[in-house]
Symmetry: C2
Subunit: 591 residues, 2 copies
Amino acid sequence: MPSYTAPVKDLQFVLHEVLKASASDISGYSELEPDFTAAVLEEAGKICSDVLAPLNAVGDKEGCSLENGVVRVPTGFKEAFDQVREGGWTGLDMPEEYGGQNMPYVLGTAVGEMFSASNQAFTMYQGLTHGAASAILAHGTDAQKETFLPKMVSCEWTGTMNLTEPHCGTDLGLMRTKAEPQDDGSFKLSGQKIFISSGEHEMADNIIHLVLAKIPGGPDGIKGVSLFIVPKFIVNEDGSLGARNGVSCGALEEKMGIHGNSTCVMNYDEATGYLLGTEHKGMRAMFTMMNEARIGVGMQGVAQAEAAYQNAVVYAKDRLQGRDVTGVKNPDGPADPLIVHPDVRRMLMDQKSFVEGARAFILWGSSLIDAAHRANDKDADGLISLMTPVIKGFLTDVGYAMTVEAQQVYGGHGYIEEWGMSQFTRDARIAMIYEGANGVQALDLVGRKLAQDGGKHVMAFFEMIKSYCAEQKDVEGMEPFIEPLKKASKDLQAAGMFFMQNGMKNPNAALAGSTDFMHMMGHVCLGLMWARMARASLDALASSPADAAFYETKLATGRYYMARRLPATALHLARIESGADTVMALSEDQF
Amino acid sequence: MPSYTAPVKDLQFVLHEVLKASASDISGYSELEPDFTAAVLEEAGKICSDVLAPLNAVGDKEGCSLENGVVRVPTGFKEAFDQVREGGWTGLDMPEEYGGQNMPYVLGTAVGEMFSASNQAFTMYQGLTHGAASAILAHGTDAQKETFLPKMVSCEWTGTMNLTEPHCGTDLGLMRTKAEPQDDGSFKLSGQKIFISSGEHEMADNIIHLVLAKIPGGPDGIKGVSLFIVPKFIVNEDGSLGARNGVSCGALEEKMGIHGNSTCVMNYDEATGYLLGTEHKGMRAMFTMMNEARIGVGMQGVAQAEAAYQNAVVYAKDRLQGRDVTGVKNPDGPADPLIVHPDVRRMLMDQKSFVEGARAFILWGSSLIDAAHRANDKDADGLISLMTPVIKGFLTDVGYAMTVEAQQVYGGHGYIEEWGMSQFTRDARIAMIYEGANGVQALDLVGRKLAQDGGKHVMAFFEMIKSYCAEQKDVEGMEPFIEPLKKASKDLQAAGMFFMQNGMKNPNAALAGSTDFMHMMGHVCLGLMWARMARASLDALASSPADAAFYETKLATGRYYMARRLPATALHLARIESGADTVMALSEDQF
């Protein structure tokens, strides 16, 4: 069975040596001293390694079951959820007035990576609750906040997000769920929602569903969608639980992975709901949480890759098979370990260099979220808005591919469920789909974000790289980082230029290259992260630290990324510059 | 539930318009007239679409079960197997004297694609039998052939291949299964084999296991391995079945996919076995079938991609979501079909251009096998030996990626088992692993095949492309094919040159680029195939055929491959030329 070790030192390295968190003047960052974050991360790491990781395979094997409307979760999940609640892990970045600890989002993300890596299906119960609570925090009335938030921050009550219907996922304007206004100001919701993660279960006293629905008579399409709070049990004025509401789980979906999470068909039959935010502005309310939710999903992709990588390394060192062609490495054994073979190294280095670069990217992105929210930094807000589809789409595409490579290291055993590598792949697959399929992320990036605010944010990003390269180019040891980064950034700018010159006449000329652009930008961001990590490592090495090997490893891993992964930008550029003609050449009936 | 339509017209196009099969003077090819092959393919297509495809999801859901040593296969498999036997599909390319039809291998491959695409887990029962029968045909005594082949060609008896043991897969020299010689010339085999596909089931009267084992006192390692025939039931002299042999299924593996095939742990406890071929030359006997077996697995990767693609197209045309940004396409509906969106097109074109190019590659490769075996063509033999790891490794890597893209077209529904897209992905995953994991294919290509016969075969391949390009470059309409092919071929040659210049000093400099080289070569082969298909299409169009749209579609699909996929060679070259330093930089404990 796979194991999981919390990567505390790597997280600390990014937080303190790369992002220099505690030196930032963002509110709350001064508390992020290395000792403090280390204590938090180690404590979180313990519950992840000791409690959640051992339940990962259990959840996969048992799955959830529905009997008479009651959803049973896998063995051990309820007890583990109690431990997570008791540890105070559910409200790390939530306001203190509702029982949270008001920590910066960046620390919540660092902890979140470990939770996702150790047990993604389990972590979704609290993850969805966090999303729903954030929506209530941002758009609820004071009364709604007081009623729902304390219980949701502690996860005594969990939350869900209800968007998709059988006939509409991405295109929510087609939605049919109706919300009829009642005399008392509440609404009666009727309709069916599908793919509702954590939609029903017995681990919490109440479940607070956030539901998108249309108020009859409102505008057509997406402009007539409103957001509602629909509790499983009506909450009385004194906070006690009243009658069961008209919402129920009609079926559980059988999925490729994340079996431990209950993915429900939810039926709303005149269920009582309360408007959250403004009538017909439901999509806007959802969108305010979109950046965080999408960064969270990007992080899931990386987390699965990290967990899979850790186990691939163990196997590659342990399994004896074949001999090193350059000379026997294990003369006393019947064969050398797999890790001596260059192609096995290639797979491990792909994974390692991706995961570490991606982790820095996500934490940097999270610090931009903090800058936007806690320091009202408009530039940070624009930049993270631009980066969000890249974090979600690129990191989950590549994160998935890395779980496949980790599985490959195991050879035949990678295909056998008992060894657990298949689960990482199957669980990681969902991250490419939910919270906006990756094609939609690419469309958001190229169709919307590039041109946002007159293209200001993408220009700022290019400028940031340019000035970083100028600043670092003469630093000894940075050359293997700066030259490739400049080249990749030039490719990215050329792609942007191609879109500008061709997209006006024919939007498809840009959209046909949208996924390639998203990947290019992801590579450039990881290249920038590796350059920054390299610089931090060089700085650390200058003072001859005791753990020099840690920094040498970082430099070597980064050089791999720059030499082997970053050159992908040229291929993406070539595809983009081939335009839309070959992509759109066929008529529908030619397929 | 997914459906499957046999791609008869596409197969016919490759067989007749590209390969011009019936004009070849390879023995048996003159019978491959278009009407004849069309009849065979259509008949095979019917059983695949009507009988096997509907059982694909059944097999996935039910899997196999083991009770008291008896393995039960999924509902309907036994009846379907009877139909396949009755149809004579099991011995298409086997000799007539053993009940086969003596058709060329190329036709067997064309039919095989359809069987694999419609139900891979099912098709493996006959596929393994075919492999075992081929080994007996090549290495058996006359008595062994007479005893086993007629029943195996008809699949009344099925076969298995037993190589892997718990502690050794790729490195078979570590094998522990023992074969003790008996006075009567037979052997007693004892040991455990794992991952034995179709190892035990009740669909056949007998199961003929081919087992690699060591005769005590023989040479160490791989040079002391012999091959044995171990029947489940001893076959009496009169051909009737005697006592149950000492071989049994100890357990079934739970796998990521191919649930309908019984993957067994096989225990040999003084089981009676008969030497097949020469003592201690078991590996050589296995290797004679390796090319066919690996081409067969490459074909499985393509077949799963084809089946997944077919269903992705149906969904993309059917599902209404969003609007075409260049103008509404379905004004009477609530939204446009997915297929209007450029990024959905990109995914479909990736799949279509891969599958069609790969199909041509496999059939071309199969025709080389025929030339080698039926016409004793040494050049063809050398060329297919070079191509085999590419067909196996490249086509299953990309075939898998294409099933993932097909799944992605479905959005959330792609993750739900009920829709069937997850199964294509899960089933395709094994093809990257078995019959030599793809890293081993890359090693075989770069470490062995490139230098085989003094590099003669790779030089012949380069020369073939060069002269093809020279011959076609001025043909009107060929320019979008020839220029990219020349460029890609130049990249491939540069990579070969890099290996020559650096691999002598340091083998790792070549091996670190082995997977990249395998992919480069795969792209070049598909580029060549597309050029040849384009030329065949241009020729056909010159005579203003009734089905001009078919040829126009081929040309447009090929142009997509050349513009969007083939440029990957430059990235692979860049990775290769970065050498082994970054790949091998870390010591084991730095991982």
